[in-house]
Each structure stands twice: as structure tokens, then as C-alpha cells.
């Protein structure tokens, strides 16, 4: 077990799978000669050659579709979007080709593809480059979605995604690439659909995914100073969704905050709220609260950006509110 970065862990997962299966290849903008826009594929061109590590033109719709076509023929493409922001251009191929193909063909044509890249905001990249794209990928059935938060999860979930016979989006975080952590050296796969309790507490549940796990943990540390102990549940994959783990933490604390990076309307959190109130109605002592990006496009200016992003303070306040320690709920 070595301490490596999240970036290196993703690289390790791709190499692990490319070593065991020749039908896996990596295609995307700048993945080969440039070693990846964020250097996630560093060294892979040298290791696997330009048959399997391929620089594409800036043609998101086209190269995503080409990868889906290759998957139709039985290959297992890893299609890198430089960021998921740009994948909106490719969404037709994701939804209308990748997600619906198996069903339309009555099970004849599985699409074992991975779409991966960073999602959400980094720092001051402004409106068009700072969008969390989860909603666009979970809404349609036929796609799975994983959101690793730590280096170990990055390796294990990406490996699982590559082995999965369905389209899996793996959403990473630009701000996570340098995060370090212990990662198993040996073959490592984390099954999709298993949430991870990243911290245990009895008073309130912070449920979240992806990059926001770190914000949740920081909030939990802050709350601990006030003797409020939070469960921090990292969903790890949004489809399949570990409903049991969600219901377990709700039953334990009876108070829940859902934290996500994206916008509120029809966000992932909305679905989690719907699930909880439907299946654990009597377990709730107060409404499930949500912390999201402000319902505005991401502004560039540092101060506005900070205001727009969901931060530790907002999570702490939401937890307090869930516990009624901030007075009566509005």
C-alpha cells in the first residue's frame, strides 16, 4: 500500500485494466502525446503505443459516438472528456446511443464504455467551465455513474467501471487530482453500488458524493468541536445507488443534510430527498436539508465564486438547523 495521488490512482486503474484486457483503449483530447490535459494518462502512450492511447480532434460528439460504436463491436473504450463541461456536446451520443442501445437491441449490443474526466468547479474558471454534470448523467436509465472522492476509491471504482458491461460515467475532480492517500498496489476493484461511511457519528447524517466528501469531513470536524457528531456517507456511485446505506444512516441519526456541488433544481440531492421521505418517512425528525451550489451560473470573481460554491460553513449551518440548534426551521 503506497501513498499516491488521486491522479496516479486513476492512471493505475487504467493500466491495471489495459494490462489484463487488450480490448480496453483510451481515447480523448490530449491523452497521448501531451500525457493528458491534467496528466492523468502520464506515460500511457509510451507504455501502450498509439494504437491504444489515442489523441482525438476536438469533436466531443464525434469521438464519444466513435467510442460507442467501437463498444458496439465489442471493444471497451475509455473515453476521456477533458472536462465533463464539454461532454454536453456529446450528450446525444451518451443518452440516445450508449444508454438506450442495449434496450433497443433487446440485449444484443451491450455498451461497455467508460466516460471519464473531471466535473464541477475548479478555481475561477467561470460559468462555462465550472458545471457539475451529474444530473445529465443520472437522469436517463442505461448509464451508471461513479464519483470517487479519494485515491483508493479512484483506483477501485474506475477499475470496476472499466470491467462493467454497461456505460459508466466516472466523474472526477480537478481539485482532487493532487490529493494523496493510501492505495492498494495490487489488483483493486471496488464494486459499484456500495456507499462508504467515511466518518461515523450519531447526531446528523451528511450524505454526499465526489469532491464534496472532503467538505463534508471538514464540516464534521467543525461540528465535532461543538460536540455534534456527524455520519459522513459517501455514496461513491450514484447509479447504482446504495439505498440501504442511506436508509441506515437516516435510521441512525434521523436528521440529514445532502451536500452536492451542482445546482439544486432536479439535482442528485432532490432524488435522495425523495427516496428518504418515501422510504424512511417516520425516521425523519426534521426535513432533509440540501446544500448546493447557488442557483446561478458560476461567476468568475473570487468573492462571488466562493459565495456560489457550497462550503463548509453552509454545511455546518445546515447540520445545526437540522438539529434545531439554529432555532426553528424556516
Amino acid at each position: 500500500m503506497a501513498e499516491i495521488t488521486y491522479r496516479e490512482a486513476l492512471n493505475a486503474a487504467m493500466c491495471q485494466e489495459m494490462d489484463r484486457d487488450d480490448s480496453v483503449f483510451l481515447l480523448g483530447e490530449e491523452v497521448a502525446e501531451y500525457d493528458g490535459a491534467y496528466k492523468v494518462s502520464r506515460g500511457m502512450l509510451a507504455r501502450y503505443g498509439d494504437r491504444r492511447v489515442v489523441d482525438s480532434p476536438i469533436s466531443e460528439l464525434g469521438f464519444a459516438g466513435l467510442c460507442v460504436g467501437a463498444a458496439m463491436a465489442g471493444l471497451r473504450p475509455i473515453c476521456e472528456f477533458m472536462t465533463f463541461n464539454f461532454s454536453i456536446l456529446a450528450l446525444d451520443q451518451v443518452i440516445n446511443s450508449a444508454a438506450k442501445m442495449l434496450y433497443m437491441t433487446n440485449g444484443q449490443i451491450p455498451i461497455p464504455i467508460v466516460f471519464r474526466g473531471p466535473t464541477g468547479a475548479a478555481l475561477q474558471l467561470s460559468a462555462q467551465h465550472s458545471q457539475a454534470c451529474e444530473t445529465y448523467y443520472v437522469h436517463a436509465p442505461g448509464v451508471k455513474l461513479a464519483t470517487p472522492a479519494t485515491p483508493a476509491d479512484a483506483k477501485g471504482l474506475l477499475a470496476a467501471a472499466i470491467r462493467d458491461d454497461d456505460p459508466v460515467a466516472v466523474m472526477e475532480g480537478e481539485l482532487l487530482y493532487n490529493v494523496r492517500g493510501e492505495v492498494p498496489d495490487e489488483e483493486y476493484v471496488i464494486p459499484l453500488g456500495v456507499a462508504d461511511l467515511k466518518r461515523s457519528g450519531d447526531d446528523v447524517s451528511i450524505i454526499t458524493h465526489g469532491k464534496m466528501v472532503h467538505v463534508a469531513l471538514q464540516a464534521a470536524r467543525t461540528l465535532a468541536r461543538e460536540e455534534i457528531e456527524a455520519d459522513v456517507l459517501d455514496l461513491r456511485s450514484l447509479r447504482p445507488l446504495d439505498a440501504d446505506a442511506i436508509l441506515r444512516t437516516v435510521a441512525k441519526t434521523n436528521r440529514v443534510v445532502y451536500l452536492e456541488e451542482g445546482w439544486p433544481y432536479a439535482g442528485v440531492g432532490a432524488q435522495i430527498v425523495s427516496l428518504i421521505q418515501d422510504e424512511a418517512f417516520d425516521d425523519l425528525d426534521s426535513p432533509v436539508l440540501r446544500v448546493t451550489q447557488a442557483d446561478v451560473p458560476m461567476p468568475y470573481a473570487k468573492n462571488l465564486e466562493q459565495l456560489a460554491k457550497p462550503g463548509v460553513k453552509a454545511v455546518v449551518e445546515a447540520c445545526r438547523k437540522a438539529l434545531y440548534t439554529a432555532g426553528t426551521p424556516a
Binding site: 460528439l61 460504436g69 458496439m72 471493444l75 442495449l102 437491441t105 451508471k144 456500495v194 456511485s237
Partner: protein, 384 residues
């Protein structure tokens, strides 16, 4: 594979060389060179089958047996026979939604196609796809796609996979004339050219995208569209099935040999409305225009007349072939009609190839929806 796709036999005596009857080769015979009588009859039989199949579908639609959108290929059968005919069984075909006869040409049984149009479990897509989504990977037919232009990158991807594995198959990717205005066309042709993929992009140029004449949405001729990527453009008369067949036979061979991607502008005409709900003629094209095309440019009639003129087809033979075609379509319709609807219990099958043992994949909480925590590996999965 369609019936025409058989070994090329010896050429027919009498239309072989300039030493034909009375020293002059008859005009009709000129186009027949290189085809055996058996092959010629095979091609005619194929096209009759396609024609009768579409007529049967039209009938079935009228009485409500077929639903949804249904786009007939009537008038364009020369392309199914002439472009797909010369392919190998392991070559791949992908296309849009006007694909009934193409599916048959590539080898899907008329029964399985008709049953799919009827939405039955015995259909080639199990009744889930319908008219626009015919599939059978065992014969290399990859659909059947409904988003205009959506199949173009997929076709490039199929060709990518061939190249990746070092195979010598090729892929034909059909599209309508209107599809070349989709951005996917640029992106796919460009990548195909850069990576020299073994793919032939074929525009079935019937002159219209629904009610819009190509010239109203393009400032150039079709042939101009592929040069931007360095892909050679070819034009072929899709109503002349023999020219088309010969052309594709030659081109497929070249692409198989490494010639790189090709672009074919195949001139054809749609004899019916855009789909079953559209009139045959209207504001966008006159009745006269359609009538003159039907009169002069019917690919079935053109081959039939040519064979008769050359003395290679008797009326009796024609009637026999046609009766065979009609019978096959009748049979297909009866088969479809007698086939069961898909089992309602299968509603949630094939959404995913792999039902993960953990977590919940379906979020509607409906009875019948597979819930999480249950390891259920679906039959469609090909996990190695």
C-alpha cells in the same frame, strides 16, 4: 446476406462481348456484362422481395398492425441490393431509420423484420425497437438509428474496431441526404480520414429530407461535402442496381485493401411520403415529379425491363419470382401476426447488461422493477 451475394458465376453467353447478336451489342445488354443469369435473377428477386415487403408493411400499418413512425424504402431498393449485396457476411452495416430492406439485404429474415415492425417478441429486436431500430449482430446489421446523423459516429466506431483488431472487414454507414448537415458528419468523416478507417459513407440521396429539398439547405452539390476531409467522393445511380452493385463490389474491395474511407453520393428517389403519416406529394414536391420518377426511375422496373429486353427474363419467370416474393412477405406477416407480444415481465430487462449485486439501479420503486442488493446477471451480458 441477400441472395444476390453469391459467388460470381460465369458471365451469360450472348451479352459477353462485342461479338453479340448481329455484331452490335444491344443497349440493354451493355449494362448486364459480368453478371450471370442466375445472379441477375437473384438481384431481381431481392428487389422484388424488398418492394413487396414494404408494400406489406404499408398495408399492415394501414390496419393498425404496425405503429409509430414507419419509413418505407420503396423506390430506393436498388441501394439495399446494390450496396449491401456485394458485402461479405462479416462486413458491418449501420444506417438510419428507413432500413427495413437494408436489414433484409444484410441477412435478417423477413419474418424477424416484420415481427419487429409488429412489436412482437420474435422480432429481430424483440419488439423493443420497432421500425426504426432493427438489429441483428449475428449478420452484421447494427441498426436502425433514429436521430438524424446519430449513426455516423457509430459507423466510424465500428470501423475503428475493425482496424483495432486488424480485421479485413469493412463497414458501410448509410445516411440520408439531410444528415450531411449534422455536425456529426464533419466530426466522423474527419476522424475517419485521419485514422484511415475502413468505412464507406453512403448518402441515399433521395433529394429530400422530409419536405426539404437538398438544394434549399445546401449551397453546394453533395459531392462537395467530403473533400474537406480528403475523402474521395463518388456518385452512383442508385436506381441502376447493376451499376450500383458493380460499383460497390469494386469499392468494397479497395477499402478492404486499405484505401481508407470513401464517400458515395447514391442518387435515388423516395416513391412514398416521408413516413406513413405524410402524403406522397405536397407543397415540397409535385405529383408530376413523383409520377415521372415512378414511371422512369423505378429500380425494380429498370432491371426487369432490361432483363426482358435482353431476353434473359420471361414473363413467366418474372411472375414466379414475384409470387415467391409475395409469398415470403405474406408468410412474414402471418408469422408476425401469430407471434406473441413481449412478456410484460421483461419490461426491465436489457436496460443494463450487468445488474450490479449492490445498490439500486432502478429508481422508480415500481413493483416489477428489479431492486438493489439482488445479484441478477442479465442474459444480455457478455462479461468475460
Amino acid at each position: 446476406m441477400a441472395r444476390a451475394n453469391r459467388e460470381m458465376g460465369a458471365a451469360v453467353a450472348g451479352i459477353e462481348g462485342p461479338e453479340a447478336a448481329n455484331g452490335r451489342e444491344p443497349a440493354a445488354a451493355a449494362g448486364l456484362r459480368g453478371f450471370s443469369r442466375e445472379e441477375l435473377h437473384g438481384l431481381l428477386a431481392d428487389m422484388l422481395l424488398y418492394r413487396r415487403f414494404e408494400e406489406k408493411a404499408e398495408e399492415a400499418y394501414a390496419i393498425g398492425r404496425i405503429g409509430g413512425f414507419c419509413h418505407l424504402h420503396i423506390g430506393q431498393e436498388g441501394l439495399a441490393a446494390g450496396a449491401i449485396g456485394p458485402l461479405r457476411g462479416d462486413d458491418l452495416v449501420i444506417t438510419a431509420y428507413r432500413e427495413h430492406t437494408q436489414a433484409i439485404a444484410k441477412g435478417i429474415a423477413p419474418r424477424a423484420v416484420m415481427a419487429e415492425l409488429y412489436g412482437r417478441a420474435t422480432g429481430c429486436s424483440g419488439g423493443r425497437g420497432g421500425s426504426m431500430h432493427l438489429f441483428d449482430t449475428t449478420v452484421g446489421f447494427y441498426g436502425g438509428h433514429g436521430i438524424v446523423g446519430g449513426q455516423i459516429p457509430l459507423g466510424a466506431g465500428l470501423a475503428w474496431a475493425i482496424r483495432y483488431r486488424g480485421g479485413d472487414q469493412i463497414c458501410i454507414c448509410f445516411m440520408g441526404d439531410a444528415a450531411v448537415n449534422q455536425g456529426a458528419f464533419l466530426e466522423s468523416l474527419n476522424m475517419s480520414a485521419v485514422w484511415r478507417l475502413p468505412v464507406i459513407y453512403v448518402v441515399e440521396n433521395n433529394g429530400y429530407g422530409m419536405g426539404t429539398a437538398f438544394a434549399r439547405v445546401s449551397a453546394t452539390e453533395m459531392e462537395a461535402r467530403s473533400g474537406a476531409y480528403g475523402i474521395p467522393a463518388h456518385t452512383v445511380d442508385g436506381q441502376d442496381v447493376l451499376e450500383t452493385y458493380r460499383f460497390f463490389e469494386e469499392l468494397a474491395g479497395r477499402v478492404r485493401g486499405g484505401a481508407g474511407p470513401q464517400f458515395v453520393n447514391a442518387i435515388t428517389y423516395r416513391f412514398r411520403g416521408h413516413s406513413m403519416s405524410d402524403p406522397v406529394s405536397g407543397t415540397y414536391r409535385s405529383r408530376e415529379e413523383v409520377e415521372s420518377q415512378v414511371e422512369e426511375r423505378d429500380p425494380v422496373a429498370i432491371l426487369r425491363e432490361r432483363l426482358m429486353e435482353a431476353g434473359l427474363l420471361t414473363r413467366g419467370e418474372l411472375e414466379a419470382l414475384d409470387a415467391e416474393a409475395r409469398a415470403a412477405c405474406e408468410d412474414a406477416a402471418e408469422f408476425a401476426d401469430a407471434s406473441p407480444l413481449p412478456d410484460p415481465a421483461t419490461l426491465y430487462d436489457h436496460v443494463y447488461a450487468e445488474i450490479n449485486p449492490h445498490g439500486r439501479l432502478f429508481l422508480d420503486g415500481r413493483p416489477g422493477a428489479p431492486t438493489g442488493g439482488r445479484a441478477r446477471v442479465d442474459g444480455g451480458g457478455r462479461h468475460g
